[in-house]
Symmetry: C2
Subunit: 416 residues, 2 copies
Amino acid sequence: MTAIRSFFRSRWIDVPTNVSEPQAGLPRGFRAAGVACGIKPSGGPDLGLLVSDAPHTTSAARFTRSGTQSAPVLLCRERCELDGIRAVVANSGNANAATGRPGYENAAKMQGAAAIACGVGAAGPVAVASTGVIGVPLPVDAVMRGIAGAAHALRQDGDADFADAIRTTDAFAKRACLDVELGGGVVRLTAQAKGAGMISPDFATLLCFVQTDAALSPETADLLLSVTVKRSFERVSVDGQLSTSDTVILQCSGESGVPVKPESDDELLFGEALDAVLRQLAVYVVGDGEGARRVGRVVVRGGDDRAVQRVARAVADSPLVKTALYGGDPNWGRIVQAVGAAMPGTAPLEVGVTIEGMPVCVRGQYVPHDTDTLKAAVRGEEIEYEIELPGEGAETELFFSDLGHEYVTLNAEYTT
Amino acid sequence: MTAIRSFFRSRWIDVPTNVSEPQAGLPRGFRAAGVACGIKPSGGPDLGLLVSDAPHTTSAARFTRSGTQSAPVLLCRERCELDGIRAVVANSGNANAATGRPGYENAAKMQGAAAIACGVGAAGPVAVASTGVIGVPLPVDAVMRGIAGAAHALRQDGDADFADAIRTTDAFAKRACLDVELGGGVVRLTAQAKGAGMISPDFATLLCFVQTDAALSPETADLLLSVTVKRSFERVSVDGQLSTSDTVILQCSGESGVPVKPESDDELLFGEALDAVLRQLAVYVVGDGEGARRVGRVVVRGGDDRAVQRVARAVADSPLVKTALYGGDPNWGRIVQAVGAAMPGTAPLEVGVTIEGMPVCVRGQYVPHDTDTLKAAVRGEEIEYEIELPGEGAETELFFSDLGHEYVTLNAEYTT
């Protein structure tokens, strides 16, 4: 297969050799559309519809663990057949969160309308997702009109329109379209994600919809989604803010006729491709973090699992580390500070810090290094920070965005 | 007494009726100085010296709990008589943190030099503090020259110079000079604080030095400092970043001859004055948060103690809430989001949000309110957010700064 690697851009992603990029188009069985229904004041696309026409479609889903989950998340958890999701209806411009009982009823209306509009019949196999401003009643009549309009626009190559319709402050659409060569044949794997702010998924994530025409049991879909989300969207932070609305859904139409069976070589191959897609999407989400210039990756080694997780989050979420990343400033003292804050009561902690391969701090003490080389190294697009804790065993990584003027501008003026 | 209230400016501070503001000057027994010794490239004042000439001075101290405590903090904890601190030597421009064994030895040199220069004799009663950039060797020869110079400049009204010398990115010096009328007579209470970024004290705080000529036992000093620090510097967040260097020291010369005895009325009166001073200083620290326009106060009620603490921190540290505060944007959905993130697994959480006395969300659902009135209300200098959690009993508050362009500019370009 001729591999065109335009989707995979990060040096941190291992690209499997069995994937290639076709021109476009959803996997067999799927159709999608995106339209403007009038939620966004800009008049931009804000309503997406996606359906699998295969009756035996399997699926898996993950949601935010927030205590203030949006109405659509509550509805999906309570009233959606999560292992057999046929259709997804999603809007941007309004999160339908902090909207109480009326909000829940509006989410139910969206579910019912999408079921009819997509020809799914029952509401149970329809998932609902909303993203945008919190605490404002959803203009449900506009959404209803949007669903009707989108149903007429459903196309096998509608994934680009769908991806556009779920964007909020995203600077660019994030989607993948890959063919994956398995032992049993070639399957297609597509995905559409959105996320720019309010990103620090825990258990689940932002909005990401993944489709394949491979045939997976619900259990296999769930296992693979669980493992790959843990290694991708759960390992990013834009601003450390867990959203009310994070949703990830994997749908498998089975229309390729190629099965992905438990503990088979094809499960491994398919899992690796899914892993690479979600990790690259996660890096794109971080790179599109509101106004982001640079993406950081922090790798923490040593100590125990709890320690490395705490330290990685503390570094990735630190506004001091993030502003230094934005400024292309090698101020590694702030990394030491963030590590220390994550490990209270352990002083003197013998921490090591390496930036882009250059050790700057060993066992808690600065080491002489060439400042000009370091300054040049931190001005690239992807900056790697390695942190060593005393002891050995655990390891983790996190991708994170910088914090710059564009973040302030976007977020100081979002609703007004 | 004629009370001039120029120090007390926040509506959130209850000002005791028994305090007044004299023109200036340290309490009896104290002298201080601040000089430029050449650490700061700007040539500004960067070395402060403060001494009590009373041999029986008592004291209490609190330090950061960071795992990467600076050398001066490690030294103070290990080699300083914390209940009898006579002198303080402090520098700005360099934190002497992540400097290992050589850094510790430099802190010891500062301690020894200050002991001789101030005439204290032994090193044990001398505390050392450093603030500034982390991970750069301290220019100790410059510091030594500074100590010698400062010793010659020590004056009873040197507190302003001392306060200037401990500033880093602070936009203004933060100090208090009060007379407190007790049953046994009038005592003076002065304080100098610094702090603009890397502020989220836990257990201890930023740099703050407090002096009085009241006579307190070390135990009483420790008790009063403990209680008042908990209600002031432990209740602020500029950027959620626990520093390597936070230090608070209370020194009592006893030279007024007015005792403050355990469980006496005067202990209560003195404690109230100390409380008001530290709380107002804490609000100033937040108001001077790098580039801050507005100060927020979040009050959380209901639930249990752990829940209110988590929720208050989540709101105060949220970059989304902070940028909205900066923008004068009543985007209260972000408060709901921050609360939900702090209470994972509790959905649907029936949270209530009130801004400047206007309820905007009750039991998890928006309530109609006048948007224009709300917009006008969030454009003041002090904005109050009240959050109700289900259940009852616990309550806490946090003061926090906004997040604006000036923070980004300052922190993206701090070392370069």
